[in-house]
């Protein structure tokens, strides 16, 4: 009797929890589903209603969007994507490579300022970049890189959080014996790092590369400040801002289509790598 009641309670509880979770999942997906549906509809079908079934107008909308944008001085959605890639790809490589190099330097060598350097990297991890934007613009102007992509790419070389994770990973899975063995074989210190250490820490580099890529791709504030009104150099989030500004004049289906294209690369990436991404997020919290 008791046992039956217990199992009833057990399954009731489970159903309740699943219901809440399914509701939350629905909430997570709904705006993106709406975005997808609306990007495939004619403008006249979007106004004022929510449709569940996708239309056939996606490519027509995309074509219309590109044609409309060709007439303006703005970038079109594909150019914005290309611009974002020009910034994001080198920034990601620099961030991951130099974070690994820095972490390796602190991890492997004994030098007088080792502890101080590490304490410093740890301390600056949480300093937000937004508050020093006035000075950041000044540096860009001083180095004649204002209105170029350089200030969006080069600073990625100093990413304290990435360094932190690289060092954590090295502590757990990079043994000194391997480094010693390479030295005995006569490999130079840089050679050891490039040819022996990097292949060994590849999993950590891959995870950190995903987050570096996403962070750079999604950044709106810094590119706005550096690129400003140079319309041909707009990155993807800046393009989204421009798309919103044209809201009154443009065809609704086309705007949704543009928005959908801006999230497509990240959606595809997430669909393929979600397991690693969720595992990477979990790693972020257990650092204390």
């Amino acid at each position: 009797m008791n046992r039956v009641e217990g199992s009833k309670k057990l399954s009731g509880n489970k159903i309740f929890r699943n219901c809440i979770c399914i509701f939350l999942c629905f909430l997570s997906l709904f705006p993106f589903y709406l975005l997808f549906i609306n990007s495939t509809l004619k403008s006249s079908d979007i106004q004022g209603t929510i449709r569940i079934i996708p239309g056939l107008n996606f490519f027509k909308n995309l074509k219309g969007l590109l044609e409309g944008e060709a007439k303006t001085s703005n970038v079109n959605v594909l150019q914005a994507m290309r611009n974002s890639l020009i910034v994001t790809v080198p920034a990601t490589f620099l961030q991951v490579y130099f974070a690994a190099l820095t972490a390796y330097g602190v991890h492997t060598y004994n030098f007088r300022l080792k502890k101080a350097a590490w304490a410093f990297i740890y301390a600056i991890m949480m300093v937000p970049t937004q508050i020093s934007i006035v000075g950041f613009i000044k540096v860009a102007k001083m180095t004649h890189t204002y209105r170029t992509y350089i200030p969006l790419i080069i600073p990625a070389m100093a990413a304290p959080t990435t360094v932190y994770f690289m060092k954590q990973y090295m502590e757990a899975s990079l043994s000194y014996e391997i480094i010693e063995a390479a030295r005995i074989d006569g490999t130079t210190e840089f050679g050891t790092f490039n040819r022996i250490v990097i292949p060994l820490i590849k999993p950590a580099m891959a995870t950190q590369a995903i987050f570096a890529f996403v962070g750079s791709w999604n950044n709106l504030f810094t590119p706005t400040m550096i690129i400003g009104n140079e319309r041909k150099k707009m990155t993807m989030p800046m393009y989204v801002e421009a798309l919103k500004a044209n809201d009154k004049t443009q065809d609704m289906g086309q705007i949704y289509c543009g928005l959908f294209v801006t999230v497509l690369p990240i959606l595809v990436m997430y669909a393929l790598l979600s397991r690693y991404i969720v595992a990477g997020v979990a790693l972020g919290g257990v650092k204390e």
Partner: protein
């Protein structure tokens, strides 16, 4: 042998400096110098004449724009309010979900899938999300239409012209984007707690609720502290969502003045850098005060949550004993 080994470490120590040098050089140029320059610039007060702007050195920016008017403090209040309104429900829901997903007694079959879907909004471009929500809630958006049909809104009225509603939706978007992240972090934290504690307490007849409040929450304190501090720092720099959702609007009446109902501090900073007559001194003064507010808030949270930590080992020992 011993001698040789010592020699080799001395020889190699310079590589330590060489390997970390690029990081520190780039940090100095692109992060530390900008911070110092921002402080320095905040003491330059600009006056605009027909022939351009003239700058004077002094405390005028602080006197006039920080102490002399309410704009900045109103933006601070809005930023803190938006953060609180998203963080409190966020941490509660995340804790609840994390407790569910790590519960051995009622194991949910699809917790992995739930995590993946709930985290998704966090990885999508915030700018796109803000514009998407704007589209849903603007004058002829689908949500507006639904609310009109339900009778919550009059015809030809819409949500984005109401200050409190815009404020609430921005807080909701932030909550919606971040609870998945926090939940995954807390799950990892709970998974790190020794299962023997739960087993021992189960033998003693503890209920799920007791386990949650007496074991999970106290032992999660370092991670909760981390979540609180990082979220507060990030929240104080909030920009993308409020900016692209409704550009700080709508204006609402406060006494005799019209004020922006959702303008955050970073939006204010951007506004004076992008103005027709850019005022970097004023933007810098706002930045400096925001810097100290961020520092103070993270210190206060850090200290306030650390004090209780001292009791923790005793509790842990008691549970284990």
């Amino acid at each position: 042998m011993k001698h040789h080994k010592r020699k080799s470490t001395v020889d190699l120590s310079r590589y330590g400096y060489i390997f970390i040098a690029p990081f520190f050089i780039i940090f100095l140029v692109f992060q530390l110098y900008p911070l110092i320059y921002t402080f320095y610039k905040s003491f330059y007060y600009s006056t605009f004449t027909r022939f351009g702007s003239i700058e004077h050195f002094g405390l005028e920016n602080y006197k006039k724009y920080i102490l002399g008017e309410k704009t900045f403090w109103w933006a601070v209040a809005i930023t803190v309010g938006l953060w609180l309104l998203n963080f409190v429900p966020q941490i509660l829901l995340s804790l609840l979900l994390a407790a569910w997903f790590t519960d051995i007694k009622y194991k949910l079959k699809h917790d992995g899938k739930y995590k993946v879907i709930m985290y998704m909004p966090n990885i999508i471009t915030a700018a796109t999300i803000a514009v998407l929500y704007y589209k849903m809630f603007n004058n002829n958006g689908p949500m507006t239409e639904l609310m009109r049909k339900a009778g919550w809104l009059q015809k030809d009225r819409y949500v984005l012209e109401k200050g409190w509603a815009t404020f609430f939706i921005i807080a909701f978007i932030q909550f919606w984007m971040w609870y998945g992240n926090t939940m995954i972090v807390l799950c990892a934290g709970i998974m790190g707690i020794s299962p023997s504690l739960y087993e021992a307490s189960m033998v003693d007849g503890a209920t799920s609720r007791q386990q949650f409040f007496k074991i999970t929450v106290p032992l999660l304190k370092p991670i909760l502290q981390f979540t609180l501090v990082t979220s507060a720092i990030g929240g104080l720099q909030m920009y993308d969502i409020p900016y692209l959702f409704n550009d700080g609007g709508p204006l609402i009446k406060m006494g005799k003045e019209n004020v922006s109902s959702t303008q955050t501090v970073v939006m204010l900073i951007k506004k004076f850098i992008f103005a027709d007559k850019p005022d970097h001194g004023r933007a810098a003064a706002y930045s400096v005060v925001l810097f100290f507010i961020t520092l103070a808030v993270s210190m206060v949270f850090y200290i306030a949550t650390s004090e209780k930590k001292e009791k923790k080992p005793k509790k842990k020992a008691a549970v284990e004993g």
